[in-house]
Symmetry: C2
Subunit: 229 residues, 2 copies
Amino acid sequence: MSPKVDTHPTKPLSNSQRAFLSLRDMIFAGELAPGSDHLESELAKQLGVSRTPIREAALMLESQGLLELRPRKGVRILPVSPDDMAEIYDVLTELECLAARNAADKGFSEPDLHLLAKAIEDMEVAVDQNNLEEWAEADDRFHHTLVSLGGNSRASAMFDMMNDQVRRARTVTLFIRPLPIKSNEDHRQVYEAIKLGDASTADAVHRAHRQNAKNMMLDLLQKHRLRGV
Amino acid sequence: MSPKVDTHPTKPLSNSQRAFLSLRDMIFAGELAPGSDHLESELAKQLGVSRTPIREAALMLESQGLLELRPRKGVRILPVSPDDMAEIYDVLTELECLAARNAADKGFSEPDLHLLAKAIEDMEVAVDQNNLEEWAEADDRFHHTLVSLGGNSRASAMFDMMNDQVRRARTVTLFIRPLPIKSNEDHRQVYEAIKLGDASTADAVHRAHRQNAKNMMLDLLQKHRLRGV
DNA sequence: GCATGAATTTACGTATGCATTAATAAATGC
DNA sequence: GCATTTATTAATGCATACGTAAATTCATGC
């Protein structure tokens, strides 16, 4: 039996899709800085394609709220102000709490919640090792998994959208924020509530967790004068 | 003084934007039927433009969840299944309740809530006159105004998105649904709670209102075998 | 008659060209 | 000098062209 080259036969992406992913990653990485303008033709040259796929990618990224098409000024990478941040956290809170309640109501058994438990463990290990990037990755994974468990694809899509909008800011603040000790405790409590099928506790605990995260983020932005990340 | 032709100097829309609006309206009107496929070139011919603005509009509508671009099969107008409907109502509920709480917390005075009151009155008049289209318009306006009062632009945008996805279904069910008597009472209660600054009551009442609306819609879809509106 | 493979059609993805018009620079008047 | 107008530049919005690959039709063999 010949070795499988591709277990999950991935169909080749179009240039538009590649441009979408590339530009998105460049935004996340800050390579395309918040508030900066970029001509379609410049981006096209950078990615080695024509303007067409760049425009299509930009249109999609605009719908995702990551940039803005400004005729004759190029695409503007949208900065996230503290007010934006507050908005986003409020929406994230609702979407995640909805998911937490739904997940609790589904009566998941332990194996169903495996990914959630794994994310929590990974976070704890990461904190012990003082590995913040690892922690951030696992934290992101926890929240993503939680929302997935809620089983509402539209809520998930919107969660991803909002989450992407704060990705850059979270990267920036990761190393100036306090150590996420309390955060890990919260996660475990949410996990337990879901396992017990206790929707209202899951909601309440997670809501408080998110409220804290929001306040912390807003404090950081204010203290460090980060008015548009 | 010459009469103002244009009080709100509206800049001319691009063909892409017009195509976006046209296609969206055609979807709402059922002119582009749920589940149907349409070649880019056909749509282009219909709207009298080239494929480029059609593609751009389609990309935007795809992000809005109204259609799907399927290579070589044309754009597919997405039907809304009962499961989809449940998802959408759940998300709408969260977004509107968030807005209701926020609105209540803002301590609005009566003039601030004028648009909300107007929508309620219009709904009551419409019900008295048995004018369902008028009622539907005012009901939509009430919910939209409520969300606006919440002051979260992202929540508003997502609300609009979800709302658009159920527009067509609501039109279909408008004349087979029970008369919206109880609905109007709910609205008034939400209004009162917001005026009193009572966030948790506003949330609770509106949540129940939305839950009823969801159940009613799902019942209608089931009873009338509307498996993909 | 059915399956298999070849030929054909066709819709899309993308590059390209161009008219339009906003933005910028230059020129003119005061 | 400064404001105002004109000329220039250049980025966009859009039409168009075309190669590619999927879908379909047709032909062939069994």
